[in-house]
Symmetry: C2
Subunit: 686 residues, 2 copies
């Protein structure tokens, strides 16, 4: 029988050889962590390589994603749909084995990692998901949700701020089935960490309320005992410090930063073969070792056992089971779309004015009871960002059967935790903070886009409308920043009606994160008597006024107010709070006998995805007198107004004053818009 | 004589009354922290209200910036140039008293705060500045640099990840003159913090190596003793937990989140008057209390005493004193510009190819010895980002007389610490990480822009040129994100020559942060024989070829290669690694008898600041066949190519493969550029 060390060495040599073949990569961490991986996967991980999507699998997160070859080797060895050929294509174009693990490209990769620290926080989200689902659905003797979440992470993850945010919250919540193993090798890229990382990390995590262990990470048996102890602690997450040598096995480079980020070289690898007594050529894993790693049969049995449990559950708790399965399948509740269409009709008819953050809250009041998967929360701004709907129930350290999370002032962790909730399955997470603080969470939002996860950000206080809180709290470049981020949909609705469509769009895009930029201040429900509706979507579509309105707004950019008396001489494009200004200006211009169309463009990503016919209908190529108005950075809008148009926007930071004063101060006035459009029509660009 | 409580109450009522008058603001924190402030400012702070720029003053940072009225009240009472009228204009347009403290708007405000946690990290930068300057310049009996850095902060600051990054590093560095007072009121916006913030914060900071204290924050004497003890601990930073009641003194709202972010209301304020025994009308501070707070005389004496010390120092250490004073004054070393011009000339002549990250390192090799104020560092990527010049000396916990910092994997704290170093004076901080990780530090970069601080970011691996590390490490939207951020200058040099100018520009813009986006891969030194130089800057200017080249590049956008045989039919605008591609394509197009100009645009902010004559010379209004090429998000470039042009850029995330493969894959090829330009000339836009 193969020894633990031999099994671990299989990982080591697959990693060394693949990195060598690729000509780049990070051998240090896989070599150091191979014993930890061997123990975790062969003694603890409950998973089914044939079905990486099995709901009740243990989750594994490689937070130090540069150790990707460790994970690929383990996935290959345990029997996932990953071949030796795939390993040989490590880091090559469109292979299943990119430089850092990317969810969606490789079976068994639970989350995309590389940007350090986020893996831990995402794992907190997964462990939280497990605990919340268990609290909601498990019944005596019927634990249909019952798995662990394991994390590997390095010193870098622990230096990053997000490790604090996530660690502190996980401790407070007592996530007992979260077990993190720290590759404590004392080395980061700049060398021995002592001069920049000398904290007592275990004491830090104890202060967070974690259980901690400290073991020789190169001793598989010691690691096993520590994991076993950690599993017995059910009311605290666990951090296991595994003392390792970076590049373990490399004869001259082990223990130094030099083996972190480059192939070891043929000679060093040969030396490692001798040192570790590994007699097999590159990419050649003996059958005995493969067989010892193979988890297919065990995995199949585990899933089968769980399927039997689920059957019992379905019999004992048919209603719960149905809801649970619908949630995990991501099914939409019946009638949800009609409910929103009805709300839209009512909202349009009611008129009046409302801050879109409040509109969002009213929509949540409707959606909340419909979608058991919706889990809300805020980074300590619940009242301001209006994320807690009337029937929402708090998740607390004492009760996880809820759907509202208090993340504390931790925007970045909130983003990564929402990614974890979405990745886990069974959840549609949404979280609120001020738009300005998307800055803190930027990298997590990017990862949502890269992973194609439906994470919904409720980003209120979306402009200088913030007012007195001043420049530090007034977003300027954030709308552009988010729009430039691939895969992210940004909605900035102009009124309550558009806010409904924004939420609808966010929900139905299962593969996209959405940022909802909402106003602090009241916005009038727009007069749509002069709007130019789109055609019904297809022969099967109903076309009630509300449905048509919904279909129009859903295009992301539509004619809210058509010029009267002929083709438009100018087009004003606006979003959010600036749309009503655009309409008022268009009316003033009409009095001067100028024909001006107003396009509301709440979601540029949606608009860009329309066919060319729609786009040219809304923004005819020949109308170049175009003005964009948005209380955000101007440059992004050149995309739609070109060199001949103009933008009224922000060219610097905001200021501290009442919001209305600021809108005047920065030129968001009918007078300025009228003047600018007149110039454009006269053929003078800026 | 006024009691401590009476003195503290003066702050309380100024805060309550100003917030009430403004109709918005945050009374809770000022009321809770008034006793802490009273003790700190009246018993410890060494400062001179008449000269807020005195080099050796104690620094005070209000990390929970929403408590701004506390700071304004203290600055008013101690005698800064801030009147009662200014307090009455709290949160009004262009007043000296914005909603959150903004450096530059109010005398005595050391840094802009509001985005939570960053104040603490900025204070770490200030304390580090003090310790480094002291190590370098102080001599036996001549401590010309000798001050404390004090911080007030709230629960929110401590929940944010950056508090971990900064706290851990400050502990490792043993910044003994950093004393942070935590407004430990157990309340954040969402209520009692226990369900989301139950960590043992003092134990956490002890794990970082901090000294901690735990006192009744409403007891000025107890706070005084704790600060006195903290000052005696010289090898550790100190965290003093001051247990307080939010909104202390408000009869019905104290101790609850309801007093956090809204005026208390007239009735509640009247109740507070009764409860606290405060008999004076709004904005009326009795002379006795004003006199007890007044720090003008004491401040004048303190500065005078220090001036005498400086005189002795100048006599004893004339050379050191000269260097110290030049540094603190921000003087440039003689000949620095000529040195860079010479280097530019040599670099252009030498030709060859080089990654611009390496060019940057060679420039630092030249600048380092010239600028004692330059302090470099990296977030654990020193070798990769090439930030450590040959003579640079490490700052270590044992030796602060150095100029290179190991920040660890803490990008956000690095940004805030650099802000602190710059704000302190005596430093030109630069720090390196990968461009992708500017995401982690975004908010700190924004604050550099808002505070107009010369902080230089060395952001390497600036595109898909990253290659095999893949999508997680390949910036796409980051260039646009940084360019959209007000006040930030972004340089993406095309070769070694432009990199020199980028550094020169970054240094001479004393009031702007600069982001240098540098390549991982080699870039050829561009052939400038066909370039179209700008005119000499003025009659007094020399115009050697190198000077002219420098002047051209400094404009941010210049004609690198003029079309031959007539006016250009098309213009290709490119930056960084894509410029040589543009040149190659222009040459291929020339063979097809098409006249194409290539504009290198390393810094759009610089270009936009040129006069219209230069801008129209480089990009003539009538040439609409424009192509922008940049391996970043495309939309931003519409600014220069408009609706009739085209952009070759990134429309999604990168991939993992060798860099060259990726450039081909994503269309950065001569063939694609040629094809696109031909279409544009034929009048077909995208």
């Amino acid at each position: 029988m193969s020894t633990r060390k031999e099994l671990a060495n299989a990982v080591r040599f697959l990693a060394m050889d693949a990195i060598q073949k690729a000509g780049s990569g990070h051998p240090g961490a896989p070599l150091g962590m191979a014993d930890m991986a061997e123990t975790l996967w062969n003694d603890f991980m409950v998973h089914n390589p044939a079905n990486p999507g099995w709901w009740n699998r243990d989750r594994f997160v490689l937070s130090n994603g540069h150790a990707s070859m460790l994970l690929y080797a383990v996935l290959y060895l345990t029997g996932y749909d990953l071949t030796l050929e795939d390993l040989k294509k490590f880091r090559q174009l469109d292979s299943k084995t990119p430089g850092h693990p990317e969810h969606g490209l490789t079976p068994g990769v639970e989350t995309t990692t590389g940007p350090l620290g986020q893996g831990l926080a995402t794992a907190v989200g997964m462990a939280l998901a497990e605990k919340m689902l268990a609290a909601k659905y498990n019944r005596e003797g019927l634990p249909v949700v019952d798995h662990y979440t394991y994390v590997f992470m390095g010193d870098g993850c622990l230096m990053e701020g997000i490790s604090h945010e996530a660690g502190s919250l996980a401790g407070t919540l007592g996530l007992g089935k979260l077990i993190a193993l720290w590759d404590n090798n004392g080395i980061s890229i700049d060398g021995q960490v002592q001069p920049w990382f000398s904290e007592n990390t275990l004491a830090r995590f104890e202060a967070y309320g974690w259980h901690t262990e400290d073991v020789d990470g190169q001793d598989g048996e010691a690691v096993k005992k520590a994991i076993a102890r950690a599993r017995k602690i059910t009311d605290k997450p666990s951090l296991i410090s595994c003392r390792t040598a970076i590049g373990y096995g490399a004869p001259t480079k082990a223990g130094s930063a030099s083996c972190h980020g480059s192939p070891l070289g043929e000679e060093e690898i040969e030396g490692a073969r001798k040192l570790l007594g590994w007699k097999h050529p590159p990419f050649d894993i003996p059958a005995e070792i493969r067989s010892a790693w193979d988890a297919k049969l065990e995995g199949q049995q585990a899933e089968k056992k769980w399927n039997n449990l689920l059957k019992k559950y379905e019999q004992a708790e048919p209603q719960l089971a149905e809801e649970f399965e619908k949630r995990m399948n991501g099914d939409f509740p019946a009638g949800w779309r009609q409910t929103l269409t009805d709300l839209l009709e009512k909202t349009q008819a009611a008129g009046g004015q409302e801050a879109t953050r409040n509109s969002s809250k009213k929509i949540l009041d409707v959606l909340g009871p419909l979608f058991p998967a919706l889990v809300g929360g805020s980074a300590d701004l619940t009242g301001s960002v209006c994320t807690k709907w009337n029937g929402a129930k708090d998740v607390t350290p004492q009760d996880f059967d809820g759907n509202y999370l208090y993340y504390g002032v931790r925007e970045f962790a909130m983003g990564a935790i929402m990614n974890g909730l979405a990745l886990h399955g069974g959840f549609i997470p949404y979280g609120g903070t001020f738009l300005i603080f998307s800055d803190y969470a930027k990298s997590a939002i990017r990862l949502s886009g890269l992973m194609e996860q439906r994470v919904i950000w409720v980003l209120t206080h979306d402009s200088i409308g913030v007012g007195e809180d001043g420049a530090t709290h007034e977003p300027v470049e954030q709308l552009g920043m988010l729009r430039l981020t691939p895969g992210v949909r940004v909605w900035r609705p102009a009124d309550s009606v558009e806010t409904i469509v924004a939420w609808l769009d966010a929900l139905r895009h299962k593969d996209s994160p959405t940022c909802l930029a909402l106003s602090r201040q009241n916005l009038p429900v727009l007069d749509r008597t002069k709007y130019h509706p789109c055609e019904p979507e297809g022969p099967g579509e109903t076309c009630t006024p509300a449905e048509t309105m919904l279909a129009s707004i859903k295009t992301g950019g539509y004619i809210l107010r058509e010029a009267t008396g002929g083709d438009p001489q100018a087009i004003i494009i606006a979003t959010g709070s600036e749309v009503s200004l655009a309409v008022a200006a268009a009316e003033a211009l009409e009095e001067k006998k100028l024909r001006v169309r107003v396009v509301s463009m709440p979601c540029a990503e949606a608009f860009d995805a329309q066919d060319v016919a729609w786009r040219c209908k809304v923004l005819p190529t020949n109308v170049r007198a175009r003005l964009a108005i948005e209380a955000g950075a101007v440059d992004w809008w050149r995309k739609y107004v070109g060199l001949d148009g103009a933008v009224i926007g922000m060219r610097g930071f905001g200021k501290s004053a009442p919001g209305k004063v600021l809108f005047n101060h920065f030129g968001f006035t009918v007078e300025n818009v009228v003047k600018t459009v007149e110039k454009l029509i006269a053929g003078k660009s800026e």
